[in-house]
């Protein structure tokens, strides 16, 4: 279709526009007839079909109007200069980014004592922080090193299961297991990455996709060790320097509340868990930001931009990629361990491909390589369905919010395509290399 061939003057060629929109609507009609128009219905254990032509009509009309508006907008902006047409991005300079990050950290630290916060909000914030941590971990792999990892949840699962199993077999606590889980996840990353990272980047994507699925299958079927689909319960809770968060401690052990002379409140554990994941996430962030300034971080970014040039300069792509992959896996393992201790129960169900997809969506929508973007994307992606669940009864907005909750994954997928097409740098951009000699972003593509 002649998208680029439109005349530069802002006059609208309505016949052309309407023809184009009609064509798009025709395609939409063909697409909609079998899957939207006809619905399989189960009647008395036998499949029959029902029809929904009204949905088809609405869909086709929506495509027609949408395409028309898009084309009108495009032909109006075609006359303007290239610079003006470039979609506005939020580019944060270093000072404003630091300010925003500092503000965010203060807010995050103060959250449990804010007047509005409840146990529910702190719990939700903990979930958000888990995804922030996972997003930051994956960001090292995808955003910095430019490797597409589609099975990130596998390392998350390795972390969770290694903690649960160590606790079961050796009666180790959360703090002893945390580094072990990270190490184990990292070695899985190295074992997986070693054969594949020598090859083209695309292979890594599909191998990690397969690996994620394999880990899930093994967790489901290796019943003697993982207890199969029933999962592992009674995962120990973290302690505060050896002091558990329980109402009555076994003899010889001081409880947290007893030590601080507080009355027992299960909410204290929720708040403690929140601070643990917040600390983990902040350490992760600090670690990543420092790594970016080290030669290895520079090498990751250089490799992302141009692998052949890196090889010419004497960087060994395999080792550099492997280090990014292993560090990403380790961070995923930490998050997994925390997940296990927070839930107290894990099963293979929590580690499906959907989780990987959500984490990847957080990184992509936030802007690959941007730490702040990941936080914003995690907040939006985790709280949206929650809002739909909580506020579904409200008039006007309620049904809309619960609809968004239902369509969540559909919207994630569409948003990933949309982001790649319209602003591949993400909502908040930080894809520019940390170090740049000459500005030649156009060539980098």
């Amino acid at each position: 279709m002649a998208l680029a061939a439109l005349p530069p003057q802002p006059r609208l060629d309505w016949t052309h526009l309407i023809k184009d929109a009609a064509l798009a609507a025709l395609v939409a009609l063909v697409l909609a007839i079998p899957l939207v128009g006809v619905q399989t219905v189960e009647v008395n254990a036998a499949l029959t079909v029902g029809t929904r032509w009204d949905w088809v009509a609405i869909g086709v009309a929506a495509v027609f109007v949408g395409r028309l508006l898009l084309m009108v907008a495009r032909s109006l902006s075609a006359g303007r200069s290239a610079a003006a047409r470039r979609p506005a991005r939020i580019i944060l300079d270093q000072r404003r980014a630091t300010l925003l990050a500092g503000l965010g950290i203060v807010l995050a630290v103060a959250l449990p004592v804010l007047p509005l916060s409840s146990r529910y909000i702190v719990d939700l914030a903990t979930t958000v922080m888990i995804y922030v941590m996972l997003g930051w971990g994956l960001n090292v792999v995808v955003g910095l090193a430019g490797l597409l990892d589609l099975g990130y949840v596998a390392f998350y699962a390795v972390g969770a299961y290694s903690f649960a199993l160590f606790a079961q077999w050796f009666h180790l606590g959360f703090w002893e297991c945390l580094p072990l889980a990270g190490l184990l996840a990292a070695s899985f990353g190295i074992a997986l990455g070693f054969p594949v990272l020598r090859l083209r980047g695309d292979y890594l994507a599909i191998v990690t996709l397969g690996f994620g699925e394999i880990v899930r299958i093994v967790l489901l079927n290796w019943v003697p060790v993982t207890n199969g689909p029933a999962g592992i319960g009674n995962v120990p809770r973290p302690t505060f320097f050896g002091m558990p968060f329980v109402a009555r401690a076994p003899p010889g052990v001081t409880t947290f509340d007893g030590f601080f002379h507080l009355s027992f409140n299960p909410g204290h554990r929720v708040i403690f868990l929140y601070y643990v994941i917040l600390a983990l996430a902040l350490v992760t962030n600090f670690f990543t930001l420092r790594l970016r300034r080290l030669p290895i971080g520079r090498a990751w970014e250089a490799l992302r931009e141009d692998e052949i040039a890196c090889r010419a300069l004497g960087i060994n792509p395999t080792t550099v990629k492997l280090s990014a992959f292993a560090i990403g896996a380790m961070l995923g393992g930490f998050a997994g361990s925390f997940f296990a201790t927070r839930q107290g129960f894990i099963s293979p169900e929590s580690f499906s491909f959907t989780e990987s997809a959500i984490i990847l969506a957080i990184v992509v929508l936030g802007g690959m390589g941007s730490q702040l973007g990941v936080v914003l994307a995690a907040i939006v992606l985790v709280t949206l369905p929650e809002l739909g669940r909580q506020l579904g009864d409200l008039p006007l907005v309620g049904p809309f919010l619960s609809l968004i909750g239902t369509l969540r994954m559909l919207l994630f997928g569409a948003a990933m395509v949309g982001i790649m097409v319209w602003r591949p740098q993400g909502i908040i951009t930080r894809r520019e290399p940390s170090l740049r000699l000459v500005d030649e972003r156009r060539r980098a593509a």
Binding site: P34, L47, I217, M416, V421
Partner: protein
């Protein structure tokens, strides 16, 4: 999934009615040592391999021409299976009971509608990214895959869809120490149709202007464009053909297993991709060979080792091929150009 154990020998080879949510051969107990059992698994594996091969062609063609892995291709196959199921149901409602006619209509409708999906996916998600950075098309493809999966789940429901058997019957090939080797008409149909499609397809690629244009674009897109080939249209056609072949695989799987759901594209996609890599990505005979091998390996693995880990076997093959022979069996070495 506990399946295979309670089968009678007469129904072995006809996986209908089992919870075969993913493509897979039916293994199970029985006289594992006998020759007949082996031949039966060979036949099952061949059928499975034909289906994988058809999907693998889509991966290999797209990779050959634009050098990207089309992650959404598994979903395209899943849509093909759904269109086939829906067409069967609609035909049943209209009272079309003559089986060959129904099969023909289902094949044509699945190919047509699925090809439309393939075309749209390329147009919406890949074409705008042709000059973007390296990861962009991959991420876009993943987004498309997630979108299509949830699109079908939301529209058609998450429950497993079962279809009444359409093609029934078969004959007993040989009897060997109490084990009867059974070949169903459906298996013959699948293998014959795949062979015919492959033959036709090889002619298209080798001897028509379209095939020439495709091979030209594969070698050098800029040069092909300079010589007057419409590159955009050639790439679109590639996606359309790949989607149509995946649709045929979808029809076959709907007939063969009788149960589908919105998630079947995920594993089938990984396996077909493995088939493409095993055969040598970019090579069409390689895709078919790889598909057959993967089908056979999966059938044998399920028959002689364990059904639970049959998906692991395919993955292990993928990693082994990538380590020891990244160009695959029939592929050319991949030269990276600046």
């Amino acid at each position: 999934m506990a399946r295979g154990a309670a089968e009678s020998p007469a129904t072995r080879g006809l996986p209908r009615g089992h919870a075969a949510l993913t493509l897979g051969a039916v293994g199970g107990g029985g006289p594992c040592g006998s020759m007949g059992y082996f031949v039966q698994q060979l036949i099952n594996g061949l059928t499975l391999g034909a289906i994988y091969g058809l999907i693998a062609i889509g991966y290999t063609m797209v990779y050959g021409i634009i050098g990207m892995i089309n992650f959404a291709h598994g979903e395209i196959y899943m849509i093909g299976a759904f269109v086939a199921l829906i067409t069967f149901l609609v035909l049943g409602m209209w009272g079309v009971t003559y089986v060959p006619l129904a099969l023909l209509i289902v094949l044509l409708s699945a190919m047509l509608f699925t090809a439309a999906y393939g075309w749209t996916v390329e147009r919406v998600a890949y074409r705008p990214l042709r000059h973007s950075f390296r990861l962009a098309p991959l991420i876009s493809a993943i987004g498309m895959s997630i979108f299509l999966q949830n699109y079908v789940q939301l529209l058609q429901g998450a429950r497993v869809k079962a279809l009444q058997p359409v093609v029934q019957g078969g004959f007993t090939l040989l009897k060997d120490s109490g084990f009867a080797v059974h070949v169903s008409y459906l298996q013959i149909f699948i293998v014959l149709l795949t062979t015919a499609l492959m033959a036709g397809f090889s002619v298209v690629i080798g001897a028509t202007p379209l095939g020439r244009a495709q091979r030209a674009c594969e070698q050098d897109m800029t040069m092909a464009a300079l010589l007057g080939i419409n590159v955009d249209r050639t790439i679109s056609t590639t996606f359309v053909i790949g989607a149509a072949l995946a649709a045929v695989a979808g029809v076959m799987v709907t007939l063969y297993y009788g149960v589908i759901d919105f998630f079947i594209g995920f594993l089938a996609g990984i396996k077909a991709f493995t088939a493409a890599v095993l055969g040598g990505i970019g090579s069409l005979p390689g895709a078919m060979l790889g598909g057959l091998l993967i089908g056979l390996i999966e059938a044998m693995w399920s028959a002689y080792f364990s059904v639970e880990y049959k998906d692991v076997s395919v993955f292990v093959i993928l990693v082994l091929v990538l380590i020891f022979r990244p160009t695959g069996l029939l592929g050319r070495p991949d030269v990276e150009k600046v």
